[in-house]
Point group: D2
Chain length 280, copies 4
């Protein structure tokens, strides 16, 4: 392990803490002129919202509620990568427009996934943070497209990517000129059907040691089980993660995608309240 | 397993043998007016060439030699997906031009990987088969771009993709209008460092049963060990696979990428001779 | 990979082909004074029988039938390792007695699993080959107990064991004084629910290269899908495996364990006939 | 996931929180007449000591030091399961005797691994808690032997065991009459060489929800990297784990086994001090 860790560190340049000892802090402006900071250990941020933007009503209602309960960044998928071509794949640009409207109404910056390098400029017009999903972690033209853009990037770990591959994917973005990358651990594939993936918190601890980039954790996708979100959120914070990304849906049972893992508004409220109590 | 298999089959449409019982045979025209067929159980084809196109000399020499020893399709990477942004990433369009030249000189059709949906039309001008690599198996805009093209597609299985995800990725291409997909198993991630990946021949057998598409096997990437290529090639053929994709390099020890797993010309000659003897 | 393979080979002694270039051939005596040989490349043997010995009738009927269709060694579990303590765990010594009776009536030697070092002498009184199951591959007192015994041992690979761990487990048996070990690949854990495990035929090819011990393949446990048994059997033979172990049950649908993966008598007959035709 | 979780819970009896809502608290007597409690959420216990008992001096020095810095249970291997038969396999009964002496001198109860059902009564004479190691999690005769014993059992999760298999292994012990089982998560096999295993903290959270048994975490074996022990320890506690098991060696660099992952005395002192501060 020690040798593998040394080799991994030796291959890093722009993402390496060895060369850049200070924590990177990503600043995301809000409509009201203030800004949100991620990284640097000062606070533990909540990113929340529905898996997919389904309608104006669903999104605005969710946005207001997650803000009320502590979220500082609104998530919502407009272009959804789906295993089958025959399932709901998102509202596309209309979804981006709704996210921008939700931002205007709530003062919450928004994050949404991009799939196609050619659509990165379009997405960057609407959203504050561009998300690279797990399936695209090694989509190098896409990494270069978001690297050429000036919006922060949320880079999810591939579901079977090594830590080295994950950090090298971040190197692509930084090498293309964009220093603002937030890493997100969301579970790796394993053999046990009782959870969807295996949340790899040791990887989070390792990345915090060898890289200066902020790292957040997505326990919703990691486990596919809303009952596991709260304990894993506590663990992620205790470990030194910079924040949490969770799926919240006003009616999880009727969600068009990933309902089983989404929190209800009430569950999200309990989650953030529980973590806040732990702060005292 | 039986239920998982049933669910998987039930989700397939255009790729399903249930709905399309006849084997799909992909026909690839050659410069001399004849054509190469893949699929349908009539022959076991060899696809060979270097991991990356490195130079005119390297490519032409390899092309002549692999043709002499039984290859019917020349492979060579012009756009290479590489973990680190700081390593050799291929000659780009110049590599595609060299492949077209090698085709003209040897009458071998050529296959090369595409990474960016925007570059699919460019690649389609030069090559006969468009390859989707393992990291891009769920790059849906790329699948749709090759689906909108009329060139056959070689779709590698993602290194941690389920059989369902692999066949649904093929559905994307067929649903976009391109019926000519060759599937390629190249190993999945495992825990044993003695081979690079785990070649999943059961998945090949399963796909041959539930889909009508041709399936080939890439034992070079699967194992990362040239000594294992010949026995796995025999196994793949016995199983019913439609062909083999192997990396061949005139000087494996000095290859710019993947030398450890590349066969020398002599080793490729022995491989095809050994399999031909098994035919009698 | 090359370095990992070298390190693996360097750690082997008694199992290493490097030190013992000749194939080991295991000879198993039959009641009629002849003997069965496994290893050495002369023939591809079939080991068949029910997952568990359930009754005298079931075992004798199966034994006669599998012999009629080409099996040379009868398998049957008397002590069954089961995930839950509340399920059928085998007939115990009575199962061993029935196996011995089946041998007497059919002239087929028998193999059965042992779980407890203290019961190895008992099992050795009844059976011809002692099986170490996947869960016990690193049960070192059990390996030493069968190593101290003079009956051949069938050592299944652990379902998450590296090739190195598997061969070192065989070293334990040889180092304890028993040179007669047959290795059996039965699939490793993976992430795809459509097969029970991932049959690792590259590991079989590798072990045949670096060790002199015979290696057989168990596609029934590997896949949990009887439709995949025949193609994988062909692949295993083409690769150079020394034989096959399959579960056969007169009425798979009513088996007390593992019915989904068991072949019926007719399916077993087709399997061996199909492989025999391939021989011509 | 929801269905898999329901099926898993439905198969549990003696270990199920559904049937036994109260947390089990294991009480381990000390030489001075007091006792140590594990479980029930009242405290987070530290189990520490060397991977293997190497000598009287090493053990006694380590025992005194880990006690001084907060350990409440002393670990040390006397019978070591080792991949190769040619490496150091522990001092055997002499190691157990040294553990008993260390207990007498420090008032710390001791835990040590048992490998052979026949040696369980011997080990039970010397130690306070019997450990079942990862390789033996499904060694059913061994589970029954410790189940027939009245000493508490520390049951490590198999390195490729599902949560269901782990809890069913605990069922074997409880069904054999021993209600005192402490579960220990120690990492599962994965594909990334930068850590030895993947610590599965979601499994810990899940087991705490569906079972009443105490669960501890072993980050030393899980990661093989001493720099990751402290953050994972914080995460485990925040999650609700009942304690931690770590390897501590006076001179990690010269340890006969597992030096790379062992903490020095100073590192252990910092670990427990850091966690104690978090308590305030």
């Amino acid at each position: 392990m020690r040798e593998a860790r040394k080799r991994l560190e030796a291959g890093l340049r722009l993402t390496a803490r060895r060369l850049h000892p200070e924590d990177t802090v990503i600043r995301i402006p809000r409509p009201d002129g203030t800004s949100l900071s991620i990284g640097g250990g000062r606070s533990f941020v909540f990113i929340a919202g529905p898996c997919a933007v389904e309608s104006r009503e669903q999104l605005l209602a969710t946005a207001r509620k997650v803000k009320e309960h502590g979220a500082v960044l609104l998530r919502g998928g407009a272009f959804k990568p789906r295993t089958s071509p025959y399932t709901f794949r998102g509202l596309g640009e209309e979804g981006l427009r709704l996210l921008a409207e939700a931002r205007a109404r709530t003062n919450l910056p928004v994050v949404s996934e991009v799939l196609d390098p050619a659509l990165v400029p379009l997405a960057a017009k609407y959203v504050d943070v561009l998300q690279i999903g797990s399936r695209n972690m090694q989509n190098f033209p896409l990494l270069e497209a978001v690297g050429a853009c000036q919006k922060p990037v949320l880079l999810k770990r591939g579901f079977a990517a090594t830590v080295e591959e994950w950090l090298q994917a971040a190197e692509y973005i930084l090498a293309a000129g964009n220093p603002s990358v937030i890493l997100c651990e969301r579970g790796i594939r394993g053999f046990d059907p009782v959870t969807r993936n295996v949340l790899d918190l040791a990887a989070v601890a390792l990345v915090k040691q060898i890289s200066h980039l902020p790292v957040i954790v997505d326990p919703s996708h990691a486990t596919g089980d809303r009952q596991l979100v709260a304990p894993l959120a506590r663990a992620a914070r205790a470990l030194g993660a910079d924040g949490l990304m969770v799926e919240v849906h006003p009616e999880p049972e009727s969600a068009l995608s990933d309902g089983e893992q989404s929190l209800s508004i009430r569950e999200f409220a309990e989650l953030t309240a529980g973590l806040a109590m732990g702060d005292s």
